[in-house]
């Protein structure tokens, strides 16, 4: 079973839940930017949550199916159509051999996920099928899809049982909702003045066009650092620290903030001031260019509760699918 890429879209890659255990050599996890949408897409078609899906950014692909299949599209609304007929989002649908699925511009959100029963079958590298394009690792030949690529699909149990599976509307994220992105402040936030920390949390930040899988660059007010004699080895600029590891989701402030995402640089010498909590990294991944981001500082216990709440939603969705 395979599907053929007729049009690749703006940036379409094979992703899964990511590769772990190699961060210390500089290997970021890669994987789905919106892991929630990825997991739900898999659940809808009966895959395990770590099966590979296609992540489409801003503008999706045209894909021709060689055989009958069961698919689900979740995440950003990119108006998918099957031979010209609208395809419902967050629902498992059947595709007949020879049909073409066309995924268009995002009208809400930034990234959509296409799961297919059986999963996209590319070789695993370091236990993951995720694409990390910087060094050409994983996924389909380590790169974004191009026209003419033919993707294999893993063996599925009879996917037809899943057709019609859908996520209840109150479990679907609202990507137009621009509620605060929650962060746990810390890391090197002692480098910011108290006024600047407050301003950081009060500001409406704007997502720049340089918002990709490596990081989201934001623009907004200037950041003010506490004056100090720079410690040995840090470098001369007040934003410089002795090079350290960057958590996924951490916000570094060279001058303007950069939030590191799934293809993060894993370390460097700019002060990091806090970290976006894991469920809100999924939400952030759906903020488009020129969208607005504001931050809310929460405690570690609140962060752990927010994570549990997201897990409960996922469990509820899985339960509702039987």
């Amino acid at each position: 079973m395979s599907l053929r890429v007729e049009e690749p879209g703006l940036s379409t890659t094979v992703q899964d839940t990511g590769r772990y255990g190699h961060y210390h050599i500089g290997m970021p996890p890669a994987g789905a930017m919106d892991e929630f949408a990825h997991r739900v897409a898999n659940a809808l078609v009966g895959n395990s949550e770590d099966a590979a899906t296609l992540e489409m950014t801003y503008y999706g692909s045209d894909l021709e199916f060689e055989e009958d299949a069961v698919v689900a599209v979740t995440g950003a609304d990119m108006s998918p159509e099957l031979d010209g007929e609208d395809v419902p989002l967050w629902e498992a649908v059947s595709v007949d051999a020879g049909q073409t699925l066309s995924v268009d511009y995002a009208t809400a959100g930034a990234r959509s996920y296409l799961a297919i029963a059986g999963g996209i079958d590319v070789p695993t590298v370091m236990d993951s099928r995720a694409t990390y394009t910087l060094i050409g690792l994983g996924g389909y030949e380590g790169r974004e899809l191009e026209a003419g690529d033919v993707l294999s699909v893993g063996d599925a149990s009879d996917g037809s049982n899943f057709v019609g599976n859908s996520v209840e509307s109150d479990h679907r994220p609202d990507y137009a909702d621009d509620a605060s992105i929650r962060v746990v402040m810390g890391l090197c936030d002692y480098r910011l003045t108290d006024e600047s920390k407050e301003a950081f949390l009060d500001a409406d930040w704007s997502v720049t066009p340089e918002a990709d899988r490596v990081g989201y660059r934001l623009t907004g007010p200037d950041i003010e650092f506490v004056e100090r004699e720079q410690p040995f080895g840090a470098g001369a600029d007040p934003s410089n620290v002795v090079d350290l590891g960057y958590p996924i989701g951490s916000i570094q402030v060279p001058e303007q903030p950069i939030i590191l995402m799934r293809d993060a640089v894993t370390g460097g010498g700019y002060a990091t001031v806090g970290t976006v909590i894991s469920p809100d990294r999924d939400r952030l991944a759906q903020r488009p260019t020129h969208g607005t981001v504001d931050f809310e500082s929460i405690s570690i216990d609140e962060a752990l509760d927010a994570r549990k709440a997201q897990s409960r939603t996922l469990d509820a969705i899985r339960d509702s699918l039987g």
């Binding site: 772990y20 894993t266 752990l304």
Partner: protein
Amino acid sequence: MSEDVIERRSLPEPRYTYGGDDHVFVELDEAMSFDANFKAMAITQQVRRRDIDGVVEVCPANASYLLRFDPDRLHPDALIETLEEIAADIDLTDYSWDARVVEIPVLYDDPWTHEVMMDFRDNHQDPESTDLEYSARINGYDSAEAFIEAHSSQPQMVTMMGFVPGLPWMFQMVPADRQIEVPKYVQPRTNTPSRAIGYGGAFSVVYPVQGAGGYQLFGRTPVEVLDVEQSLSGFEESMVYLNPGDIVTFRRIDRDEYDRIRNAVENDSYEYTTGDLAFEPDEFFADPYGYNERVVEEVA
């Protein structure tokens, strides 16, 4: 060279902080020192050895370390408690390791990094100088030549890996007053040649792949530090060549030798020059220059 010892630094209380709901970051010191680095190494080695359930990533850094954990299996405060326990038991006088010594040949002032740095003079502290000339001057050397000698004549220890896969941060094994320190570019470059030798803060790096970078550019090596396909000899075990605790000697080469070695790398007939050394911090601290002679002999 009378005061030629590595002065020990007493470290402040470590700072434990959360990185969202799934990371713990521990800063051992705001400044770089061998004490801070060796402590980060020793603690993270213990963390690995204990194989703590729920710990997903263990990343030593220059003067800090970072852990990623699964909050569904481990509470961050329980993890921090364990880390405090481990730190209390660490005694650096007991700490030593089998270090690999690796020679990295370098063509200083090479044409490729020169061309790129000229494209980015607008982002530089001193647009009229090359990065080498600027770095030589602010570190008190009479010439780029004398500066290259200082950079290449004493070995460097790999103190951290990251940024991108395979990139080593290296800290020169000399007393603090001999350490080279340079600023990073005012704005990072959007381009850096692969295998460029950079310097920022107190660290040398080798850029594994072409891409962004903000460090001063000194030269280029013909040898690889990353081989994703793992087809080159030396990369059988891992796609990255260097690891924290390795000791690197930069050997200055000319263009002919650069081309010869590059050719050999491309034909997969290049063999890294390496040696092994049981690294004893105390011996190194007491007589770094004497110790470094032994290090260099390993690959001579």
